[in-house]
Amino acid sequence: MSLWRRILLAWRVLKKERTRLLIAILGIAFADVLMLMQLAIRDALFISTSTVQEAIKGDLFMVNQNFETLIAPLPIERATLYRVLGHEQVREVAALYMAIIPWKNPVTRTDRGILVMGYDPYVNLFDEKIASRAEVDKLKRFGDVLFDRLGRPEFGPVPQLLAQDGPVTTEVNKVRVRVVGLATIGAGFGADGNIICSDTTFHRIFPYHKPRDIEVGVIRLQPGADPIAVARDLNAVTGKTGLVTTKAEFMERERAYWRTATPIGYIFNLGVVLGFVVGVIIVYQILHSDVNDHLAEYATMKAMGYGTATLASILLLESLLLACLGYLPGTLIANAFYTAAHEATQLPIYMTVERAQGVFLATVAMCGFSALIASRRLNAADPADIF
């Protein structure tokens, strides 16, 4: 029996029971939506945790040796950072101050924690995609800050107010600041929003933060220098007081924190497995009742000379057809949810080719696995019983 005839037969079996077919498609779509959402949120988490790190223009980074995450940074002494200038491959260094502090929504006057980053605006610390040169120049005025346009809406409609009426005045940690421009960073799981300011403004907001303590030291190297070799040299000297990492390590540390030190990654992976299991159960139920309802018919086909393997292959094809039919609406629905979730949370939730492919393969595996279990029931179809 040709493959095409088998596919046709599989389709005809499915088509005859419209309601059952619809339930199967919805079930698979549901399982796919579940898996796609869990994966998207998990990926968004890991991406969002290193958005800031990625935007800092630096070759090496110095942090406290117990550093885990930017959300709870541990201080290092500024003097330790300046010591690395003694290495001939180091071109320049810059200090970054960080802290989370309540921000007052200028409209509703409610407070919400925001991540504040302070640095010398004469140093070109951030990539242009985060804050343009013109915007950073505005920070040279004492008390002025840039507001993250991708922060959560709970911080207030600052970008709109800025566009309508010019600079927006509000309070951070009960200190008056003026928003004079916008940055583009994005909310993460750790921080709902960000503001950028000069180091002097930072110390005005945080009077108890010692200026000689910094959170991150940014190190830039001479052109052609090998970051890994220089990091090794520097760690030999400063390792105990300030750990030097490459940019990749710096970002990986942050992601590792969220992956391992928090249950978040595990929970999302569990959600994916759950979606898979739900799918297997639904497809198995559908295929099993299909075989059961048509047991006499499958036995008749055996009497004609159809082998159990051929019948099992038809069952497998049924499951693959179901996989395709369920996957399509599943991805479309998930895509709509992605847009909605992105708008609601400002997290980088969107479809990727890898995820779309991965979930398709998972759907095929889910359906194929169910078909394999259901096909055992075909052995019960005994052609001698139908006489």
Binding site: M1, S2, R5, L9, R12, V13, K15, K16, E17, H294, A296, E297, T300, M301, A303, M304, G305, Y306, G307, D382, P383, A384, I386, F387
Partner: protein, 232 residues
């Protein structure tokens, strides 16, 4: 060479104390091209013998040669291959509920891998021969009992099997439909030169037979040739 040769066939269900013998030293010869009716009371072993000949059960003792193939000790694979040359007609039509009449008739042809044009032609021909040319696109639940059984006959004969085995093909039908069904079976079998073995209780259809075999209590009682004259 006869289509079926049974020698000293014994068959029992169950084992040990629960063992129940159904067939006792059955000897039977069905010549090629003949239409043979197997009659006798219920529980006499007719259906069991039919499933043995149809290779749907494994042989126990004795010898059974069907279409030149010894079934005793034959592998499942060999039996399945032989089944391609046998057409089955069941008491309940046993059509695939999820396939139309045409698609049902198509199944045996798809099994042997017959291509599109030839297959469609065969289906049209045989559905026409059983008077269902207009019903090809109907599903079994849209057909009457007689029509369904005629589709089943078309399905059993479409691949031109050398042997057709039928189990009570008229039991579920009224006398008029039953008559139509066996007449068409007889006509097609004669055209194709197919050997037919029919198990039946229905005395009204005895006139289609070349030979009538009585099976009672697991033993062949008589095997009578029906003279050509009786048909006329």
């Amino acid at each position: 060479m006869p289509a079926i040769v049974a020698k000293d066939v014994n068959f029992s269900y169950g084992q040990g104390r629960l063992k129940k013998q159904i067939l006792f030293d059955v000897n039977l010869e069905v010549p090629e091209g003949e239409i043979v009716l197997m009659v006798g009371p219920s529980g006499g072993g007719k259906t069991t013998l039919l499933t043995l000949i149809g290779t749907l059960r494994a042989m126990q003792t004795g010898s059974l040669v069907v279409l030149d193939k010894e079934l005793r000790g034959a592998s499942e694979r060999a039996r399945r291959k032989l089944r391609n040359k046998i057409g089955f007609i069941f008491q309940a039509h046993n059509l695939m509920s999820f396939l139309t009449a045409e698609q049902n008739v198509s199944l045996p042809l798809e099994l042997i891998g017959m291509g599109g044009r030839e297959r469609r032609q065969r289906i049209t021909e045989i559905l026409g021969a059983v008077g269902l040319a207009q019903h090809g696109h109907h599903y079994p639940d849209q057909l009457s009992g007689g029509q369904r059984q005629r589709v089943a006959i078309a399905r059993a004969l479409v691949a031109r099997p050398q042997l057709v085995l039928a189990d009570e093909p008229t039991a579920a039908l009224d006398s008029h439909s039953g008559r139509e069904v066996v007449d068409q079976l007889r006509k097609l079998a004669r055209e194709q030169g197919t050997t037919v073995l029919v198990v039946t209780h229905d005395p009204r259809i005895e006139d289609i037979a070349d030979r009538i075999v009585h099976l009672e209590d697991g033993r062949i009682q008589t095997s009578d040739a029906v003279s050509e004259a009786a048909h006329r």
